[in-house]
Symmetry: C3
Subunit: 474 residues, 3 copies
């Protein structure tokens, strides 16, 4: 019987082939490999920490069904989402045999060769679940058993993993209308893990959100402020921010199709708000109102010190039939070309020179890295650059980010790494990959005598730990 | 006498400098170096195969006069196209001494240093024509003689070269109104080479094509359907597709300034069509009609199984004075920024989830590789990505494509290589370069432990042969 | 006492890690390291050469206060410009203790790690001022003394540095209304240095320039032509070009927000001009007039042989509060996405095929390198590509330029290096970095057998010296 192929995870993996670069990269990587993880932006459900006995379910429920990075690739190759057990909104029946779904996944695992998802999954299987064989058609069921067994054990409760993963702080992302009851339960439990909320008001700020009026109704309820006009709306948002801050939040997060900003007069803002309440707001109203509210959020950040994050440029739910059957977050969000220079000017002219304000920019349009974002971050005191987002959270994506951004903005106008994930057990793999990228980037600079080794050592510490902690005020 | 400089073609040429990468790249390259060539998209004239005794003419007629990749570079450095023997439409006399033109070419061959054209030409001179000296002012006439002699010999008939080149299938590109008489002649001759047509309806679909009404007249004639309105137009197109398919076609090809798509009602489509027949269609009509016809072509592909190719984003005949004197394809086509996410949504929402539909996308705007195309291909079952087109069919262009696309779309949502050439004897050189790029890309991943050697071996076979055959249904 | 960290400047610095590439790169670099410097585009004040005893002032006046590359980075990290001694327009007091400013600079010198500014400064400190210790908090004052002492010595007069730097020619940039009195003084002095002006008419051509009417008034005065309408305006511009040419100019330079071009009729041009004289020109008038004047400037270049440079795509003075307090050139110019294909077509269709015309294009949008600029330069005889501008005048920026441009346009449609600086003593460092980039780029091609060593030798000479001299007609 031929030997089964194994998962490859040598200590110096991913580094550039050149022996000198590998050697320096490995030395730099070792300096930070065991530093605690700072997770200032992500989508882990706080519920998993609120219940000390939370269990992840089957391997399929952990690895496939909730992870659109995984199932979108299988779907792109013609495997129906129904066959992967993805729940439908319209009652279409889906596969319920989790071993069968896992088998399909294993048979198509070759699709992830060379992708970050493939790299994370291999790391996670190996390091978190102790798997040594490569996931294939043949090994699928054995590996399923191996993972399932681990998931039963007490060490695999989320709180235990938090400690095992050496997480120092983990921020969740929560709607403005959340009562943060899971965060409260975590606090009340006396557990020492630091799980903090992030204020994400998109659903009450973007007038074209489906069900916006219900969201405003809910905002009234949770804030205790009767939201009937623009001034009361602003007061309610301020109340929520204060509440989030009290619950540990240090940041807000904002999505928008474009980073358009515009200062409306209070009167204009109220007129649009009233039209929206009557269900009469136009598409143009929605664009202008979002642009105005980004400025209001910046104003509030100047006042309350919450760090502002902006994630523009995703065309959500591009695939209408898939959206109708399965809902959002099905792998069908497609990036758009994004313009920052003109769009952000009103906001930056008003708040970009404020010392107490931090605006962290993300993009899905990497042409803006060197053209717009690095020059903005290399000038405005408020602007910092978030790490490569989504499709660019990958070896080459992160490497390009460093190469395109650093010559203009330097390292110190960036904010370290975000894992930005709902796949909790993949967190160590993601941070590890990012730390390797930075070690490799800096090693190359050392070997080429652009920087000295002692400078690289300071820089890798900043990239792996210090910058995230500082930028997010953690 | 100093030794003459020679053409350099070591076996491990082009690979990365690192010795480990070179070694692995060479091993991977050797696995596929002699596989048959799949040529699913190109512009070789079928006439050259229809006549078993077809001859290419002089070296100048083979290498320079028909190849806008070559003469555009000479023109950019101030050499008039007339001096290169490029035929004019307006009767301006041009150089007819082919040895003189060849001499100019040789004296300026240094302009192609580091360009793919230079790499292909050196390969072609060396491997196809047995030339060993570098092409220079001094060697020009000797090399001319050497090539001219070869071109006389029976081994240089196109059918013999087809066998020598180890081509498995070669697709031509043919207007919708073609009677495919050369393809018929090839079939009738009993020769075993597989030369298949590709259905390219641009001239009848893009209302602003010069002479569109004459094209419609011709469509009526060849289809035997009297095209007087939109329904008969659609029937005629369906007839042509069926005919092409019967003649061996497996694919269609479409050019458009933008990939805009829009579903018109039959009534609107007919109204525009009628205006066009009367010569009254506006620019906006033309844009909308092309956008609508792309959707119709997708519908027909779902029905008849022809693979759909889309090549958007070229501003054709940018240089008006050159166009007026010499006509199209004079090296003056310049790329435009291209938007896929919004433009393709109507088409993809209607047909992108169809299992029997393949839409292969090409671009001249490489910013869309990672921003739009890889996310689309990594989600929609119908979408696959064509290889780097035109200016990007080059070492760095192809390498960037792999680096920008693969992390999101993987290898298996791409379709292998297209030589896309009218320069028939350059075909082996072009495939060889592409196979080297992939060997080098994969070798780097192996050395960095991103993938294992057995995975790389499967991947190089797919990239060099399997994916093209499968995606184009060959 | 631990040894102080030293500035690292090994002879083979910056080259790729691979030993073969380094070796070949070093050999190629040595071929050109000592060639004279051609400086065809820059912003050194001609005054520094007009006065044979000109002194640069304090180290802070030389390195920090005039250099927005330096102080923008400090500002981005929260250091007020006032604390850096940047003069204000509104009378706000600023720091005047130059040692204190230098200390702040030294304490934040780590921000420049991996940036071109950091690389230039280290080179300049080491090679021009003999500094060996790295600039840090501890060494700040000692290094200040060391530089200050040098600046006192006669070898540090600008004319002496010109000779020491081995400059062959240096072009300044001068408004159309300049009387070029400093250039005249240099001539009159009998000094042999070649300092030539460049004709930059933005302030009289762009109607939205603040104070445009005063500029026109000044144009009348210096030209001796009473500018009252469009024809007299054109005559005055022609007079200025002739004067600049007589004073040694070989080129013009033009900035524009976009490279939009359009041929207005003389009547339309005059109507807009008249509206502008009355202070009634609209924003659209300004855009069209600039587009028209770019075409007029091309026409004049065809006639007088001055090489035309175009620098589009900078959003100037993005940060309004900083502009109001400090004026222009404060590090707040942010790039915009730029479109060349459609915008330049009118100009290129009229003048792009002219043999006596050279149009050198620059960009701050590097997505246009491969998409638009290389295809334009690889076709139109008039078009040549300027070196990477501003944020891209960096190791990675220049390397990307070569990789993105060369496969389509070749080396010979580019024009060598521009230092484009007002920081005179940084000129050798900038040219050295550019020569290293090209040596490294070519060495990689040699090692990969894309080109032969003798070809690389010719190419490095062209890149480092010949192309600039030829393209700018020097």
């Amino acid at each position: 019987m031929p030997e089964r192929p194994k998962i490859l995870l040598p200590e110096d993996r991913y580094f550039d082939p050149d022996p000198r670069v590998r050697e320096v990269a490995l030395a730099l990587y070792r300096e930070v490999a065991n530093l605690p993880l700072i997770c200032p932006h992500g989508h882990v459900d706080p519920r998993v920490f609120a219940d000390p006995d939370y269990r992840f379910g089957t391997p399929t429920e952990l690895f496939i069904i909730p992870d659109h990075y995984v199932f979108r690739m299988l779907y792109s190759q013609g495997i129906p989402l129904e066959a992967l057990g993805i729940p439908t909104r319209d009652g279409t029946p889906v596969e319920t045999d989790h071993r069968k779904i896992w088998q399909i996944f294993a048979e198509h695992f070759y699709l992830f060769r060379g992708t970050p998802t493939g790299m994370w999954l291999n790391h996670e299987l190996y390091s978190v679940f102790g798997v040594r064989d490569r996931l294939t058609e043949e090994t699928a069921q054995e590996i399923y058993d191996q993972i399932a067994e681990k998931l039963e054990s007490p060490e695999f409760r989320p709180r235990r993993l938090y400690e095992q993963f050496n997480i120092e702080v983990l921020a969740t992302t929560d709607p403005a209308t959340s009562t943060l009851e899971h965060h409260q339960a975590i606090r009340d439990s006396g557990w020492k893990g630091r799980i903090i909320p992030t204020f994400r008001p998109d659903a009450v700020v973007n007038l074209d959100t489906p069900g916006w009026r219900e969201q405003i109704q809910r905002l009234s309820e949770v804030s205790g402020i009767d939201v009937t006009d623009y001034p009361s709306y602003i007061r309610a948002l301020e109340q929520r921010r204060a509440f989030f801050k009290e619950m540990g939040a240090t940041a807000t997060d904002h999505a928008a199709v474009t980073p358009y900003t515009e200062a409306l007069s209070e009167r204009e803002a109220d007129a649009i708000f009233q039209r929206a309440l009557r269900g009469e707001a136009s598409a143009d109203d929605a664009v202008r109102f979002t642009g105005h509210m980004l400025m209001e959020m910046a104003r509030m950040s100047v006042e309350d010190g919450l760090v502002m994050q902006l994630h523009p440029g995703s065309f959500r739910n591009h695939n209408q039939p898939i959206f109708e059957r399965f809902g959002p977050d099905m792998g069908g969000d497609i990036p758009l070309a994004t313009e920052f220079t003109r769009n952000l000017r009103p906001l930056l002219n008003r708040y970009g020179n404020e010392k107490n304000f931090t605006l962290i920019l993300f993009t899905l349009d990497e042409t803006t890295f060197s053209r717009e974002l690095a020059p903005l971050a290399g000038h405005y005191p408020a602007v910092k650059l978030g790490p490569p987002w989504w499709f660019y959270d990958s070896w080459n994506g992160m490497m390009r980010f460093r190469q395109l951004v650093s010559e203009t903005a330097g390292l110190y106008n960036t904010v370290g790494f975000n894992d930005d994930t709902r796949a909790y057990p993949s967190i160590p793999a993601r941070h590890d990959l990012a730390r390797r990228v930075d070690a490799n980037w800096l090693a190359d600079l050392v070997v080429r005598s652009v920087i000295a080794m002692d400078e690289a050592q300071e820089m890798i510490h900043a990239a792996a730990y210090g910058l995230a902690k500082q930028a997010y005020r953690l």
